[in-house]
Symmetry: none
Subunit: 192 residues, 4 copies
DNA sequence: TATGAATGAGGCTTCATTCAT
DNA sequence: GATGAATGAAGCCTCATTCAT
């Protein structure tokens, strides 16, 4: 007997429950600032056996990516909405702000977003999907003279993560976030 | 018998030699892409005992900072020269490019540069010294309307490291470095 | 619905098929040099659930013995034929060669053959049956002065397995097999 | 400060003591019938840290071989004495008996003796040395017509270990040892 | 000061076995 | 009967740090 969830293909009910528990605990660990995602620790906190975690996620990275796949899906949806905006520049800026805030909030998400090499095919698919929407926005904004000609969707993804990195490096929490994001947005405009 | 080096107080000749060896090996490790700086490994490669490394550098972080203190000193010198430039904007840009290239080349250097909390007092002093020169350049460039009003020297330091981070995230080596740096420089101009 | 096989009592058709699959895969594993017979691995390769393997064979040893029971049955048949040989010495030698070659080929078989403690009653029965034929051959050959007086059937079984062991210890495959077997056969003759 | 023992090159006094402790415990384990030589267990029993055991013996096999190197040395000495015997056949038989008893007593020793691939160079050297003495005895005995022409020193080594194996397979302890050894000795005589 | 052997906590991973479905 | 997800004990090994020499 199987259930169909958004997590993926058919899983036995108990397996799905365990998988969800593990994901939840992993998210908590990251939120608590522990980036190591030690599978043993996650298993203990999730109240499942180590083997169970290993079955679902052979490596911390796999777990990280599963987590991000969830976030990435939300981002892809948002990107589609943004791409439908009549005002391409407004759409782009809104999307960047949305992404920025998420990445600032969740360092694991940022890590996956900026990485050039994914372990899970699903991650790459989602990023490609995301990049398609961003490319469309960029092209339209570019035609309107609002964005420089030499940056592509993946550049924007990386520059945004770099900006998140810059905010994090500061000790005062996200106090400078607004300014740094604005520096990026200005930087994306055509050179004068 | 003691020698006087720029590293600090008088050291016995053999101690100074050991210290230098350790620093050299550590630099090689980092250049080789091994960021872990395991003190045991460094000791072995340097041909000294572990204890000796621990005496000089109680933690990997201390070693990292000692390394960066050397680089930082060079950067401080460059910053002083830049601050003497009549054209503040040109001086600033030159300095940023210089820093950018170093940080891109040496991830340990970038890490120290962006960190908000130093372990060694010397590091903090050097950063303060650096920031003074940058502040001066920023102020002059700002008066000329060439730089936005809401960024300070440490913002610039962090944004630069964020940009380095963005370049690193790409797989194609530093291919996009020029573009990303230009995005930052444009972003630092006053908002339109 | 049940079938009657030589394996034992009536089994449902699907159960019998699964049992046979498991045995076949186990044989392949051993032939491939993997002596561990991990029941999980066997189950996967056989395309059945772990539980199924466990139902049929509670331990790897049980599986091993089931495998050997099949071989042992063939050996018992051969021994009966040999015991019918008019020339007892010729019969004995032929049987030893036959056994030697099988054991050399299949280390699991050798292990069961030499063991003094069987887990399955069936194994002990077959060995006793085998030893009866060998004892008969030995006695007849002994009367003809062709075999030393102080070795019994189980000694011969063990010495043969020891010889197999000696061949295996060499790195050059079974190159020395003939010589080693001949050393054993000579050694079984009466002392001069 | 170092000491010179037969174990090898200079070792610090404490290191030598630990090494000896580990070897002693390992020997006890093997004598107790535990062939696994788990390094963690050995460390615990020896009252030293795991790391210490790993430093001296990176693998169970290395430990096994170190143990056997000691025994092997004794065997090499005995072989030299035997090779000096005027009666080559008597010397050979005495040496085989000596070896047989040791190997029967210590399964680790037998395992190293029969193996065709050593991990430690020292082991191979000792075996080569041993084989030289045996070869000499064999050649002399052969010239006197007392040994078959087609067996070399390493064949004898392996056949002897095979015989040990045969004795071990029996449940009644070494009751049949004498007979089995005699079968081997008879088997080594020229074929009639 | 320098050495490097020793330490052992800490993390990782497998796999034999059980049991809910 | 069959399935295979779950379990977690048990083994493995590394490496940061200490301290006797």
């Amino acid at each position: 007997m199987t259930v169909r969830g958004e997590q993926g293909p058919g899983l036995r009910a108990d397996a799905a429950r365990n998988r969800a528990r593990v994901l939840r605990v992993a998210r908590e660990r990251l939120a608590a600032g522990d980036d190591s995602l030690q599978l043993n620790a996650v298993a203990r906190l999730a109240g499942v056996g180590v083997g169970t975690v290993y079955r679902h996620f052979p490596t911390p990275q796999a777990l990280r990516e599963a987590l991000s796949a969830e976030d990435l899906q939300g981002l892809v949806d948002e990107a589609r909405r943004a791409a439908a905006d009549e005002d391409a520049l407004a759409g782009l800026r809104g999307l960047l702000r949305f992404t920025f805030e998420h990445a600032l909030d969740d360092s694991g998400f940022a890590a996956v977003l900026e990485s050039a090499s994914d372990n899970e095919a699903r991650t790459s698919e989602l990023k490609a999907e995301l990049d398609r929407s961003v490319t469309e926005l960029l092209d339209r904004a570019r035609r309107a003279g609002a964005v420089r000609g030499d940056v592509e969707a993946d550049d924007v993804r990386r520059l945004l993560c770099g900006t998140v990195h810059a905010v994090r490096a500061g000790d005062g929490g996200p106090a400078r976030a607004e300014v740094y994001l604005d520096v990026l947005l200005q930087g994306l405009r055509p050179a004068r």
